[in-house]
Amino acid sequence: MAVDDLAFLIPLLPALAFVITFFFGKKMYSGGALIPIGAIALSCIISVLITINLLNNPEEVVHQSFHWFAILNLGILIDPLAAVMLCMVTFVSLLIHIYAVGYMSHDPAKPRYFAETALFTAAMLGVVLSDNILQLFICWELVGLCSFLLIGFWFHKPSAAAAAKKAFLTTRVGDVMFLTGIIILFSSISQIYSGNLPEGVYVLQFSEIFKLIPELSAMHTTILGTEVNQLTIIALLFFGGAVGKSGQFPLHVWLPDAMEGPTTVSALIHAATMVTAGVYLVARTFPMFIAAPDALIVVAYVGGFTALFASTMGIVMNDIKRVLAFSTISQLGYMMLGLGMGAVVGMEAVGVSMFHLINHAFFKALLFLCAGSVIHSVGTQDMRQMGGVGKVMPVTFITMVIASLALAGFGIPGTQIGTSGFFSKDAIIETTYLFAEHTGNYIPYLFGIIAALLTSIYIFRLLFMTFTGKPRTDYGGHESPGTMTGPLSILAVFALVFGALTQTKFYHFLEGTFENNFVHVNIEHLAELGHYHLAHGHHGEPLLILWMPIIVGVAGLLISFFIYYLRVIDMSTIVSRRNPVYQILYNRYYQYQIFIEVIALEITYGLSLVGEFIDRKIIDGIIDAISDGTIAIGESIRKVQTGVVQSYATAVIAGVGLLIILLKLIVEVQL
């Protein structure tokens, strides 16, 4: 039996592990952790084997599908795009599960933890494997649910409960947009078929959707007097879903708060896997985006702005996990930026962006796990109370340095030497430069390069504040156990060499995503529909541009080194309440105030008051009238119920008599 036939087991095994661990985990070793670990390990092995098959045979994607109902199906699709995601998700999830055995060892609710992470992994694999948009949406929601459960894992902490609620509601905004997009897509498709959807064709399957792109892009809708391309609306609504899930501006507010969950959850969900679902969605529906005018430009601007915006806030945070959270938002912005560059480089944008996604998953999971290791040992998340941790936790320190170098993108341009972050991030920045050259629009490039400088500053600030110098408080740390340092080391190896080993192969592999036996779309042709002019043959960037990312990276390192290690500048003058810039950054651009006080209190509350008036006076009035009437009728009829059996008997006999007469009459009429 070919391993391809086992593809359906990939999401099913973790789902099964969820059930077993959830109900029977209490009596097993370490809260039943071994069952999800085993299941995910098996999934990982299957994924890797399928990916190897696919590498040899990129035209033969795995596709299994069976009928669900009407014109919908449930199916599994493993094309190159899904395959790399699969391997990444299962692998990172596996390492984090192993790490969690150590990290969660003191927590009494371990079965719940492992069950929920297993369910989360299953849901995420479901997102990746879906061959139609509806199934993807279902798993997408399941991912959101798991995120809610895991952020609120310590639900007895009010802040965790609030964070879970916030995350759920914020992503819900995006999810509603996504669902609206699916609904509009479906109705547009049924319009194309003039209401007669063909039998036996699953119209929401990606292959069918992509086939209809030319027809979809010919449709227009008028919104507020302007004519808008139907496909652009759908694509932007999908992107709205991605914005919610991937924490892009302005729906990023939930991600920093989501750090209330256990650190392993942060690493699993808010760094490596769940937040990448949004990027994956855009990559998965990339043919729709590239055929939709202006859609990719919006993606690029939102992504670029998020990358810059989040990194400025990362600089001033004192909570180690929050720095990493903003870093995640910023890096996700890079991925979106990379996808948006599809406006110029076409299919290569998916390759670049997904490459960064995979590399980011490795080094960001590593960063989070290192932070978790530090928190586990020191017992605080505030960097101001740390310092000198590197001496007591050497393994954590070394892996953290590797991860930081990868995040800042250190490497030597023009060679195959560099951390994995270097290859992917520089590739994105290079494509933005290409975009700038091609269109004369330098804004995305500036977003990218300034964000790179800030990234370097904040990550080395974190490193210096936490690991070097003298302990600022008496925390008495110790190195973490082997189940925690083991995954750290493995991830560190990946963060270091994965990029260098796979770069060219990776791009080439992903180019087969939309040209195989399942879907066949001509990206060039679609780009014409979207009025994008693709550039061809672009290997003449000036040397300065090639070196620019690494220059700003080193600059950031030096800035941090002087300020936070040598302390040549007294930070207390800058970090004060009187410095307005610091205030703005530390208060996260007053987003909270804006969201709460302006949007929530003024607008939403005002609307709520109107709604309340309508609800109380009009709707409640109707309801009250109905209920009062019912009560009044009941009161009067109640007197019939005398409780005297004799009157009941009279009523029964009268009823029976009348019934018989009635029956007799009817029967005679019929005869």
């Binding site: 409780g643 005297v644 004799q646 009157s647 008997a649 009279t650 006999i653």
Partner: protein, 100 residues
Amino acid sequence: MIPLTYYLILSSIVFTIGLYGIMSQRNGVRLLMSVELMLNSANINLVAFSSYNDDMSGQVFTLFSIALAAAEAVIGFAILLSIFRMRNMINIDDINILRW
């Protein structure tokens, strides 16, 4: 020969009288008497059908039924007697401590 229908009409007259008593009377003893009337109208039916179908078991059953009616009446009157001892009346409308 008297037709069977006459017996049945007689039985229904007796039953209707009993029914009317059940519906209208409030005195416990009268109620029990009405119940007896209804029961015995059924007995009339039994005997009538029994003899008109040449089957003895109907008449045997009537005997049983009369005996059971006696048992029922004994219990009923005993209850009424006990109530009368306690409350000095047997108007069933006022015996409502088990209602609601």
